[in-house]
Symmetry: C2
């Protein structure tokens, strides 16, 4: 694996720009992956991430039961796989095999990292208060990984119905804050 550990205090820099992510879970050793865009940072450190996972998704039940997942961040090269994972269910399909994704063992959780993604956040479920009403999970990031060679990663950002904005250039402005 090319990825190196990333300080937890920098996790927000990966998720604030709003990339589509691939969320992995493991159900008794069987890995699954789903596509997700409804997530937000909620705390810097330890990093908390709020996300909506519909109860129509196979991952909903697995996450609720195992309380562990990995948020993997793909770039443009994986766009077809991202849409494929979003348009299929892991109830019967092995999406890793179907879409040519490589599971890699995580350090803190049983869900796998996706080797092809440039960053990965190992998470445990921290708060389920709003799961029943909104399918909203609050995750705590336990360990973060990033490919140090990824500069200005070309993340993809859903605009609805198969349209994705591709991350453009990065600009720098004077800022006093995070």
């Amino acid at each position: 694996m090319k990825k190196k550990s990333l300080p937890l205090s920098r996790v927000y820099r990966l998720l604030e720009p709003g990339p589509v992510v691939l969320l992995t879970t493991a159900d008794k050793g069987r890995p699954n992956v789903m596509t997700m865009s409804w997530h937000t940072m909620m705390e810097f450190e330890p990093p908390l991430v709020g996300c909506v996972i519909s109860d129509r998704n196979h991952s909903f039940g697995v996450l609720k039961a195992t309380r562990e997942c990995v948020i993997n961040i793909p770039t443009l090269e994986l766009a077809a796989q991202v849409v494929g994972c979003g348009n299929s269910s892991g109830r019967k399909l092995d999406k890793f095999r179907r879409f040519g994704l490589t599971p890699v063992a995580a350090a803190c959780v049983k869900a796998p990292l996706i080797d092809e993604c440039y960053a990965a956040l190992e998470c445990k479920v921290a708060d389920t208060t709003l799961v029943a009403k909104y399918c909203f999970f609050i995750l705590e990031v336990l360990q973060a990984w990033i490919d140090p060679s990824a500069k200005d990663p070309r993340t993809i950002h859903h605009r609805g119905r198969g349209a994705f904005m591709v991350a453009g250039k990065t600009i720098k402005l004077p800022s006093k804050k995070n």
Copy 2:
């Protein structure tokens, strides 16, 4: 105002890509604006938006009291104002005047739209369950506005410490879903 009404079912297309937004409130007729990146869609229609507004922000108390706000979406041209609004407090400063932003009366709420932004979502607070613990508000979008001439808007996406990714090109992939 150049903006036209947008069907509520399309609001998710504006927020899913993760743009930095300008959240406006009104405190007894006095408008204020803050910069925000920690938001996520939570429901399609009526659109629900979850967002974290720190209790160190002046807007926190105003939003809690008035239960109304507007989420305005800026593009690259407003980057300096976005950072300026993020680095200052509305407790004493009139940020509209200071940063040359034009308040426009909203249809459903007392908080103003920002004329310079290409889209605006009038919101009421729908759920405060997680405000005490995480400063997490759930907003319901009552009315959405968009400048119909804005194609592939160059939204800006925070990467931390004054770095912003600028929205690049849009690609289209076959998708069965939203």
